[in-house]
Symmetry: D2
Subunit: 118 residues, 4 copies
């Protein structure tokens, strides 16, 4: 399974149901957000420690897996509709962030790069 | 660039900065949501039609690309921390959805599967 | 019903169930986001025009009302826990925005204030 | 400052700038979500304990106040556009939740009402 073949599956799924009319970037951004909201709900009352073992509970693990798949689906679909190469975009972003967050300045700090000094 | 190698880059990036302490699933779910919020802001005042040509404007295109990369980054990082196979999860979800949304019932309808009858 | 009395009701509700332990600002921010996600889901496939008549459908109207109440509940609860005067904060923000968005520059434009020139 | 007078201020602000065209319920739901995302970002790397003292830092306190005001603004504006009485909706919701979450069953538990048994 590659990103490209998953996007192809999602595109066929939409085309077979005449759903392309709904899949504008605006609507897909909303759908992505809605799925993120469902994912967040699973974690909202857990402590950070509890969240690290969430997959030990089969019921919760299945929900996490399903919601993350939904987020991924809308993200891939949106990238496809926008003709945006998501893997390339992320690889580029990681490079940019290497410059913004030098390891010796950012070590152990959750600050934004604008606050790192240097 | 595969999902696995991007996850490896993100893991190294975090390890080099001693950021693993911040990357609990709970915190990553929040970060994912925050990035989705930034993505949605680009589209909030656009009409659906305007949203389909958002990539024609280089300034907006760069913002969309960057925010989608951020969403993707936190999604991949979260999957890695949870040891969850995102591509497998999505492939499985598409199969489940084929059963929930039969093409002949779902055609042209944006309803939830519970409302499709059949 | 005032904001203060609603906050008092929400505080009692939480106290009676020993839920104060869960109501940290971090957790409440997550819960707020989760409810926003459910609200967005109602609107994601609607056109902007369809969204303006969403209250004509009694089933959808009830969902909108319920999700907006949930968003409001977590927002009020969070403000209460942070001892933040939400009405004062908003009144102040409106004043600030009068300066950022002069009517003669912002008329009919959905741009951020940094792009308004002047 | 009451909800009604704040909504009146927000409506005038929009009318003076000819922004009513942008304020469809769909768009306002997106804007609300975007502001929630900015609020969540403040808390994403904080521990729950750190989040309880977020207002002790004047810089962070100002950001929290501003983002919560923005969330409140779009929630009030959306309720106004939908002609929905937010205070009544919340008061009703609290009553419904008293039935769903009996204190003796829900005490100290962050479970959904469907899991409370009883």
């Amino acid at each position: 399974m590659t990103i490209g073949s998953l996007q192809q599956s999602l595109a066929s799924f939409a085309a077979e149901r005449d759903w392309e009319q709904f899949h504008t970037p605006k609507n897909l951004a909303m759908a992505l957000t809605g799925e993120c909201g469902e994912l967040v709900e699973i974690f909202q009352w857990l402590t950070p420690d509890e969240s690290t073992t969430v997959m030990d509970d089969p019921v919760r693990a299945a929900r996490v897996r399903e919601e993350m798949a939904d987020v991924f689906a809308y993200l891939l679909r949106m990238a496809d509709v926008l003709e945006l190469d998501l893997e390339r975009a992320l690889a580029d972003k990681i490079e940019v962030n290497r410059g913004k967050y030098p390891a010796h300045l950012a070590r152990g700090r959750a600050d934004k790069y604008t606050q790192l000094g240097g």
